[in-house]
Subunit: 259 residues, 2 copies
């Protein structure tokens, strides 16, 4: 890519990025991921994954398209209906939206659980500390006393009273194998992913094709607005959402959008 070096690469604090910069969100995301790598929260490969996402976001026009907005509203409704919702946190999620995930968890009364592909005690600790700095009081995934069936690697490790027992799981920026294994367990998955053809959004009940830094605050806003609605109203919002139509709309936008 050509564009990646046209702004100062070295920004110490995100406040230094001008909010009116046409590529503000992209710069902010890149800065947060880079800081995450430096703090030991994000794996180096997370930087690569984020770059990949940034290209899809560029093609989407770097905005929440209407089908994504509908998905975010349905996701909020589905989380409010859930008995034991869990928000899964990996290294990129922790780096990009730590405070935003804490707020979403509070808005829908969900647990936060750290789950890493490249799991090391140091990274788990760094992420738990980072979430605590952003207001998280109780974070699951440290004990990891249960396993997702049919999944090797350390990413199968979950808490028995966390993801293992959850009925609805939000899995942002997730790898396809894990999303499929969670689906096989019968979990209702809400996936946030910028590539509509990835396996994760393909298996999700509610796929959100949007940048996580927009998607999570949007979900929180919808949840706050929908709080207190009757179960049947929430149910209707979930049922009204058409996942295939949403995936199709995202693909359509990427094909014909800003490029």
């Amino acid at each position: 890519m050509s564009d990646h070096e046209t702004v100062p690469a070295e920004v110490d604090h995100e406040e230094e990025i001008p909010e009116d910069h046409p590529r503000y969100q992209d710069l902010l995301t890149r800065h947060r991921i880079e800081a995450g790598v430096e703090k030991g929260i994000t794996h180096l490969q997370g930087m690569h994954a984020e770059g990949r996402g940034s290209a899809f976001d560029y093609l989407l026009g770097e905005e929440t398209i209407p089908s994504a907005a509908a998905a975010e509203r349905a996701a909020a409704a589905r989380l409010l209906l859930a008995d034991e919702p869990v928000l899964s946190i990996n290294g990129n999620v922790a780096a990009l939206v730590p405070g935003e995930m804490v707020q979403l968890a509070a808005a829908v009364d969900a647990d936060l659980e750290v789950n890493l592909f490249n799991r090391t005690p140091e990274r788990i600790d760094a992420i738990v500390d980072h979430l605590a700095e952003h207001g998280a009081e109780d974070v699951k995934g440290i004990e990891a006393d249960a396993r997702i069936p049919n999944l090797d690697h350390k990413r199968a490790k979950v808490d028995s009273d966390g993801i293992y027992a959850a009925d609805v799981v939000v899995v942002p920026l997730e790898d396809g194998d894990r999303a499929e294994a969670l689906e096989a367990m019968g979990k209702t998955e809400i996936v946030i992913d910028l590539n509509p053809l990835s396996r994760s959004p393909q298996v999700a009940e509610i796929p959100i094709v949007d940048n996580i830094i927009r998607a999570v605050p949007n979900m929180t806003e919808h949840a706050r607005e929908l709080e207190g609605e009757t179960e049947s109203t929430l149910q209707a919002i979930v049922e009204e959402f058409d996942r295939d139509e949403a995936l199709e709309a995202a693909e359509q936008r990427i094909r014909s959008g800003r490029l």
Copy 2:
């Protein structure tokens, strides 16, 4: 992105990546960039840029499309016609195609010059050493006793007998500001970039929209084949190449291709 974690993230040597893996090239590129960051050759942001490129490559179908093949042939012809061609090397280029750049330089009798956006003596040394390990005998860009006009930052630094004096410069994975400043100096630019709408390919006389790990060996092959052809034959190959048509074809493929 979902797919980024479905293969082992930790590969110590690139030989461990199975060549028949459907995503072999993408895995190889990612591994080389990661190794580059670890060796101090590549800036952390290079990992992000490479991820961005990988999404465009995915949309292109991860293959050299016909218009890119034509561009690579024209680039080889143009380099053979040049008086003082220089191949510019940044951290990603050094990590991804060190030996391939050395071979191209030999095939077209060009100089190699290190030029970094985030220039530090340590990175310059690491890259020069890395290129030497891959067969480079003489690498420019260490002295950096001249400046590209109208360009701030350390990336303006070039060698007076290198890029400053060159008539044709290959600038792969380059930032737009620098590509524009080189164009303003009257240089003939050959740009390799996976996003056809980036400013760098837009200002290039020969834009190559292809993955650098395919483009550079292809250029070398064309150069070897065209060696010994008359100046008028080479000239005809260059003139036959239509840059606007090539950019259009690449955009078309990204819109309608594999996605």
